[in-house]
Structures are given as C-alpha cells and as structure tokens.
C-alpha cells in the first residue's frame, strides 16, 4: 500500500507542518524553571523579527498534540527545534544543544513529554522522516515542590543567549543540511 495516498490541500495542514522551520517552546509555566521553553518563545516574539518561514509556538504542556500530527503528516518541516528545561546536572542557566541521535534509546524517555520530550520519537522523526531535530535545553535550578510561577534568576538570564543562538541558526534563509 502506498504511503502517500493523501495529498493535502492548502490549509488542510497546520503551519507547524507546512513551514520549513518549526520551533516549539515546551514546559509548564506554573512550575518555575520548567517554563523556560515558553519564556524563550515570549522573548523571541518581543525582541526578534520572526521570519515568515519559521513557525514559532509556545506549546506549553500540550506538545504531544502537535508531535503526533507532525510525525504522521505527509508534509513536515525540514528542521525542528524543541526548547525545554532539563536537569542535566550542570549549572542552572547553562544551555545545551542536543542531537536526539546522541541520546540513548531507552524506553524511559518515552514516559513523559517533559523528560526531554519524547526523545525516542524525536530520534525516529529525524532518522525515519529526514527531519533535522535538535533540542535546546536549559539546565534548571531546583524545581518547586508546589506550583510556583516565574523563572529563577540564572535561568531568566539565559534567555538572551538562547534567543541569540536560535536567531543565528534558525532565523536566516539558510537551511542546514
């Protein structure tokens, strides 16, 4: 059976499938530094000119809704960047760019969309579907035991650097190979 049985009409797929570059800010703004991804999207929107070929979205805690569609869509971006907060044992506010191929394929990573969102799925998206996938991760400070809005100072201070990194790599017409 042919896989390309569905030829979508214009508008039948969302921007996040059709635009060449997709940047998703993930996290829960109610849990302190976990809101880093959402904060980066807000910062970029306020301080940068987002090119037309880029779909930039704060998906909060709802990233999986997009990723399912993205994985199975016949039309996909050529590059996807996931922005998230992670605990990698580094100094709070330190930034990392992670290639999903470098992450060990363990089932545990699929347990949560916040635990470096769905790394196995992102790896499959890259390896099977030919999409360049990267994760921009920020080391969090201690996460609050209870609901608490707002970033810690070290993580807030990382916002401009994260924006610079994203703009340099994704806000140009150059498409990485």
């Amino acid at each position: 059976m042919e896989a390309s049985v569905w030829e979508p009409d214009e508008g039948e797929l969302p921007d996040f499938c059709r635009k060449p570059t997709l940047i998703l800010g993930c996290g829960n703004i109610l849990f302190g530094d976990d809101g880093f991804g959402s904060a980066v999207v807000e910062y970029l929107t306020e301080h940068r000119q987002v090119p037309d070929n880029v779909c930039l979205a704060d998906v909060g805690t709802g990233v999986r809704k997009l990723l399912f569609t993205l994985c199975l869509s016949p039309v996909r971006p050529s590059r996807v960047l996931i922005i998230d907060a992670l605990d990698l044992g580094a100094a709070p506010g330190e930034l990392f760019v992670i290639d999903p191929a470098d992450i060990p394929a363990v089932k545990l990573d699929d347990f949560s969309v916040h635990q470096l969102p769905t790394s196995n799925l992102l790896r499959e998206l890259q390896e099977t579907c030919g999409v360049e996938v990267r994760v921009l991760a920020c080391q969090t400070g201690p996460l609050p035991e209870e609901v608490s809005c707002g970033l810690s100072e070290p993580v807030r201070s990382a916002l401009p650097a994260a924006a610079d990194l994203i703009a340099a790599r994704y806000f140009t017409k150059h498409v990485a190979t």
Binding site: T61, K107, V113, L121, V147
Partner: protein
Amino acid sequence: MAKTIVIQPVTRIEGHAKVTIQLNDAGNVDTARVNVIELRGFERFCIGRPVEDLPRITPRICGVCPWSHHLAAAKACDAVFGVEPPPAARKLRELCNSVAYMEEHILHFYFLAGADFLLGPEADYSVRNVIGILQAAPDVARRVVKVRHLCAKMLETLAGKPIHPQAAVPGGFSKPLAVAERDQLRAQAGEALELAKFTIAFAKENIFPKYLDVVKSLGVITTGFLGTVKKDGALNLYDGQLRLMAPDGSYEDFPYDRYTEFIAEHIEDWSYLKFPYAKKWGSFSMDPDKPGGIYRTNTLARLNVCDYIDTPLAQTELEAFRKAFGRPAQLTLLYHWARLIELLYNAENAIRLLDDPEITSPETRVKVTPRAARGVGCVEAPRGTLIHDYETDGEGMVTNVNLIVGTTHNNAPINMSVTQAAKSLIRGGKYDQGILNTVEMSIRAYDPCLSCATHGLDGKLGVKVTIVDSQGREVGVLAN
C-alpha cells in the same frame, strides 16, 4: 527466595508511577501495587486568587485534557457566582467538550492503545510505536491525522486557540459563534463522524474479535461505576447528575455538590494518590475477592450507568454492546470498545449541537458578581468524572479548593486490575517483556492521566523492572 518486581518509570515533575509486583517464594504474584506521585500543591496554589482565574489556570495542570479542567472550572465558577449561562453558551461549551473528546479518543485508540492492538503486545519495542502504526496502516494513520487536525481547527474556531483554552468564562462563553463559522464547523463535524463510523466498524471487524480472549481475561475485576447522566438517564458528558452504580446494577443519582455524601477518600501509606470509594457500600478494600467500596469511572463506567444514548448511531452500538456483555459490563479491556462508542456519540452530538439554531445566538454571557459561596463544577473528562469544588469569600477570592480528577477515581481499580493481570501472567517467577507489556495493557485500558506521564508518546508506559530479593537487594534489572 521471594522477589519484588518493580516497574518504575521516572518523570521529573508531572507525575511518577511505579508498579511493584511482590512474588512469593514459589515465584507467583503475592501483591501488585501501582504507586503514584501526582502534582502536589496545585489546590493550595489556587487559594487567594480571584476565582475567575481558575478556568485559565487549571488547564495548565497538565496538557492531556485541558478542556475538561477548563469547563469544570467554568462550571464551578458559575455555581460560585450563582448564575446560569445562556443556552448558547451552554451549547458552545458542550460542543467544545465533544470536539475535545473526539481528538482525545482518536489519539488513545489509534496511537496510545492502538500500537498494542495493531502491532501486537509482543511486537518489538522499536516498532511498537507511532511510526510503526504509520508503516503498518498508512491509510488509517493519515486519515486519523487529518481528522485530529480538523478537531484542533474546530476548537480554534470556537475558542480562538486549541491549547490552554480560555473561552469559557464564569457566566458563559466569551465568543459567540458566527453563522459562517457554524457552517464550516458543521462540515468538519461531518467528516469527524465518518471517521468515527469507520473506526468502530474497523475495530469490530479487525481488532476486537482477534483479542476477545485477552479482553475476557486481562485485568478483569468486579466493581461499581460512576458517571454522569441527564435526568432521564441519558448519557451526557458535559452536564447532568452523577449516578453511582453498584456492582449488581442498582444505583443512586445525586447532584454534583453532594458528592461528599457518597464518595470518601481512602489513603494508603505507599501512594501519594488517594483512593476514592463509595462510602455507603462499606469500608474500603481492594481485595479482588471481597472488594469494598470500589467503583470505576471513564468510558466503560459511563456506558454502564446511562440508561441509553440519545444519538441514534451510538445507541445502536450501545444496544449491541450490552447484548454481548450485559449491564454493567465488567471486563476491563472493554474500556476500549466503550471509548469508540463515545467517539461516535461525540461526533453525533457535535452535529446535533451545530444544527441547533440557538447555538449562534449572540447572547453567550451573563454578568457575575463576587460573593461568598461554594460552587461545584463537574464534567466527564475523557478519563473519568472530573470534580472542581471551590469556596470563595465575599470578594470572590478563593478560600478552598478540592479537585478529584478522573484517574484518581480509578486508582483502586487500576491497582486491582494490575494485580489480577500480574497474577494471571507471572507464574513460577517467569516473566518477559511481552508479559510486562501485557500487564501495562491492563493499565492502559483505563487511559490514565498521571499528568502526561502514563502516556509515552509511542503509546507505552516507561518500564524498568528491578528485581530485588526479600532483603531489598537488587538481583537483576530488566528494561526496554
């Protein structure tokens, strides 16, 4: 030597669950417990805030069913303010609920549970995932994607945005529906109905018969059920009254705000998640041979408690379901079947609501005035009965909050089903990945929402099995 098998996924903040299976000296299952650590502090966080903020805050509890929290919160606010939303607002809210249901039920059947059924529980982990489904059934996968996207577009049309909704407000709905929008939505709902019809026919022909033996044996327990019905006993997912049905099929109906008269919460020292139970049925017990106060929520429960479904196609399916499995149906994996009947109902219900001229009325909101009051809002979330219970002071500031989410109701039944599944599958200390995934299937049937956690994006629970001896020493690790 007695062993303990621990199935333990690790998450960072949203939720944490592990399954501990205690083997006896013969290697058979003694007990099985699902230990859950949920979000903490959320209720406390809401205290001191203006109550009208809660419909905007609570959808961020997690990303799995934001619409359910949004609508339950809005209804609780209505009750706190003592107002009744205009008919159009009520219908718009119910329409949003039905569309969100379709999106969620499609997701669960095809992607989360679907991998088990389409690819088989024994399929290798590397292919038993979303991409595997695409490769196994590309036509179906893409049709599903198209309709899920349609549902997201419908919610965007109705509410301005599909994620973290804000459209329902105390006293109504912030955005009236234009006639042109209604016409567009009507066409989209028709397409969703076609997928719903296809899905249940597909499952009844290709999936359920193939797995009927598993359905009849895995995770089977006998419990009561809780769900929402209209006054005439019809299924409703947005509003009505609660019906608590005993295992023998007898039941009591009561309004939402009297839930504490019927439901108490038991605490176990090995889980942070409470265990709601029907307190009029006696003391709490998870002994599968003599359960006490145990009831279930979610799809199977709702179909059991309702007298009928007031849409024709879903009613036809309900009649066939009851003819095959009786009322109340107890087989745990029938949750999947019931989910598809609900999918059909929601598609039909969306069309019915859109065909109602009243839904385009510009009158969608009434004025509210702060007061000291208690208000209980309840909806049927895809994963079970969702209760928001608020109290406010004279300025409308929140002084007390209690939330019971759908999965919490099912805490005890999930534990019992896992125990039953483990006991039936693990004998003589022998187990493997296929067995562990089959145990997971008994949990997945409930479509639990331990925040986002229990659903891996590829449809599986994260599993790490640590085997320790009776002294707590690790003697082996088994992981996917």
